[in-house]
Subunit: 480 residues, 2 copies
């Protein structure tokens, strides 16, 4: 499904919509009186082109055509989706929607990005409009709250799913819909906390992203609390924490009565939502997601990911040996694949860590790399000898086969939990100058450390597997 | 730094503390009158052993010794950390802390997991205690709010950092500290929304985890809103959304005055927090984190990750060709390494996707695998010919070298954005029975499709690189 989307108002939200449609193959016509609109849209598009396709393991369809218009009728002509993202002022929205309802094709969905107004308030002067409230950045976050006429919302949901979004149909009109009511409650409480000098904006942000923010990226409020209730379930949780509603735990004190009817309603809905999974299963799901998210954040050295990386830096390295132990770690759930074992690429990921550690041992460490020298891999040959499972402890030892001139020829033995060799990885690297991206000799210190290591490793037997090519043989074991 | 931690009360929170200390090499002594305490703690430990070590690329130190005690003095003997996680009832906590202050070593940190009480309230009968409020699951989430005596909190922070946590020192006492005030505000608003029939618990959870929950895993409230303010900054954002405070956007209506003093305070604190980064830089950081988190969630097919996978399943496959295009995708930021290019393991990751696609083309698809047949990799040989950068479009074509009996011998050519070959990956796979995990012949249909493909590929020239082993040569190009 693709077509033409008319984007009316191209601020951060409108441009995000433009990007979402355009990158999913729709033609996009932008109408915005701001003379700077093209530049601002281009900046958001830059961000979107960098981020949205990166979510997928397949390329997105070819981009549609982007056009800018000063004539509203022209922008709307032939559009099957019209998205208004104007200022959050009712009079302004009324004026815009008068024109949109008049000029848009009769079968077009006309939607407003309003975060606060109900569709009834927007339509009070006869316009046909639903609320389609997205979240910034619109090109990445899936949520869109849909409020208004049922059949139109159902049609709108199909369109939104086809551009990778998650439409949430809100069946009852209410100011600020659902998500922004929660956000507004947090916002008001946050203002009190900063105003009263309890914490700074930075401390408050840490209180979110180091704790419950991580939970909410993968489970919401009720499913998380269902787990907290443990084996005793949601009723138990409510009974336990209900009394706090009477306490001054927030400055926001107009509190609903947690009577039997409300406890029953929540328990029933929670059962319908999550009752098909045991608490143990929910815990595992939560933990697997948290591990995946935290590992993702440690890659970007951000928030909780930075805490982990900083902590890990305090771990002692294994004592030196010949050959050295270059990796000793547990297999994370993010390394498993559909065959129920460590994925073939993860073997090379572990070997890549081993090469990094070996490089550090010969003086090619972080500081050296920052100076512009590094090693790039030219070839790798993996032999998979045994399956490995999530949670198992693996170690890698690294043997230097040769290290003359610019090249470094390594042989990694990856050992499973019982010490058996589960894979061998032979790797050829070349020293490079990171400025020219071409091969170059290593520093004298690195060359000397390589020579010293080569002396020590000269006594080790040459691995039988090294130097061999792949050949089809009769085989019985499987791994990878 | 390690030592002995005494865990007083071993429910979900107490057991989480026990796991956090134990897996970081501390000895842990548990005191809990519940006869079921050992079983419950063991269950939490099971979860923790599966999850916490998976965060790290190095193995954690050897676990400490775990013991259970019915004598409080014995549990406390020699402890440098005492963590009370009893019921959230002030009288109960008073009774416990009377004993803890009397029996614990004089230099031990005595901390309460209380989510609501101030240390002053806990200490009102003379106990020495600080609040150290963690978040479930304690073994994974880094946040601990520390409240109370300054020097004790500073000492506690050191201990907590040494077990990988993020201590947030809250300088002013307040009921429910910081994070739980925000949570309580959301909770109260959520109760209203469910009670008033606006949404179900499930819909509310989706409204969180499909939208702002993803933002909060990596940035908090204020930094996110700073970006929303755009180039005009935090003051602009506050001016724009300030008026909503007067509107009935939540049922929680005791709202602070957003006067010049508060606007100034927030703007200054936000500048101190994030002012060293431009809005563009913050946007990139946010987007890179969101991409990483969303890709993490698509692995677990959870929440927003499931939306992406479902969307991707609607993308058309490339039209059949000889050899077939088995991968066409953009390089995500999660595949880059410190050398500023696609990491060596990611080449094999892409080739692994290509093998999966080739398998599907010969009938070894998801349904077939669910029946118990699959291919495992025996060997892979990667030759890196050119560097690749984040955002570049890559394609892989896959040539069948041979496919007789149980083995499948493939040759992947990975092409960069200009069509040049950036890597070749030669792979040998073996068909297996997933129940026995041993090699077994493929189904007749798969064998027939392989034979058909082999016929079509017979006309293709044999790749020069196939079958070769790694040999040290004089080289000038670098990649991987």
């Amino acid at each position: 499904m693709s077509g033409k989307a008319a984007i009316v108002g191209s601020g951060v939200i409108g441009s995000g919509w433009a990007a979402r449609f355009l990158l999913n193959g729709w033609d996009v016509a932008v109408f915005d009186p701001d003379p700077d609109a093209q530049r601002k849209t281009a900046e958001v598009l830059d961000n979107a082109r960098r981020a949205l396709p990166a979510l997928y393991n397949k390329s997105l369809p070819p981009e549609g055509t982007l056009s800018f218009h000063t004539d509203l009728g022209e922008a709307l002509s032939g559009a099957s989706w019209v998205q208004e993202s104007g200022p959050e002022q009712l009079a302004v929205k009324h004026a815009i929607h008068r024109d949109l309802s008049r000029l848009a094709p009769a079968d077009a969905v006309i939607a407003s990005s309003t975060s606060g107004f109900t569709p009834s308030a927007l339509a009070s002067e006869g316009a046909r409009v639903i609320a389609a409230h997205p979240f910034n950045p619109v090109y990445l976050l899936p949520l869109v709250e849909l409020v208004g006429d049922g059949p139109t919302c159902a049609r709108a949901a199909e369109h939104l799913r086809s551009v990778g979004m998650f439409p949430l149909i809100v069946r009852k009109e209410i100011d600020a819909h659902v998500a922004d009511r929660l956000l507004e409650a947090v916002w008001r409480e946050a203002l009190w906390l900063v105003r009263d000098g309890i914490c700074t904006t930075e401390e408050l942000d840490e209180a979110i992203r180091m704790g419950f923010g991580l939970r909410w990226a993968q489970m919401g409020l009720f499913e998380t609390y269902r787990i907290a209730g443990g084996e005793a379930g949601m009723r138990h949780f409510l009974a336990q924490f209900g009394p706090a509603l009477k306490w001054p735990w927030t400055r926001l004190t107009d509190v609903p009565e947690l009577d039997d009817a409300l406890v029953g309603l929540i328990s029933e809905q929670s059962d319908a939502q999550s009752g098909h999974l045991s608490i143990r299963a929910l815990e595992r799901q939560r933990d697997d997601n948290l591990v995946a998210i935290l590992r993702a954040l440690r890659r970007s050295n951000s928030g909780a990911g930075k805490v982990i990386a900083t902590h890990e830096a305090t771990f002692p390295e294994p004592s030196p040996a010949t050959p050295p132990v270059t990796v000793r770690r547990q297999i994370p759930q993010t390394w498993a694949d559909y065959n129920g074992h460590m994925n073939e690429a993860a073997y090379l990921g572990a070997a890549s860590e081993a090469s990094d550690r070996f490089m550090a041992l010969i003086g090619c460490d972080e500081a050296y790399i920052a100076q512009g020298g590094s090693y790039f891999t030219l070839e790798s040959h993996v032999q998979y000898l045994a399956e490995l499972r999530v949670g198992e402890l693996i170690t890698i030892t690294t043997q230097l086969l040769s290290g003359k001139g610019k090249t470094l020829h390594l042989f990694h033995r990856l050992n499973g939990p019982d010490g058996e060799t589960a894979a061998t990885i032979e790797t050829l690297l070349v020293h490079v100058d990171l400025r020219t991206r071409r091969s170059a000799p290593p520093s004298e210190r690195v060359a000397a450390l390589i020579a010293e290591t080569a002396m020590a490793h000269a006594a080790l037997p040459a691995p039988a597997a090294a130097g061999r090519g792949i050949a089809v043989r009769t085989s019985s074991a499987g791994a990878g």
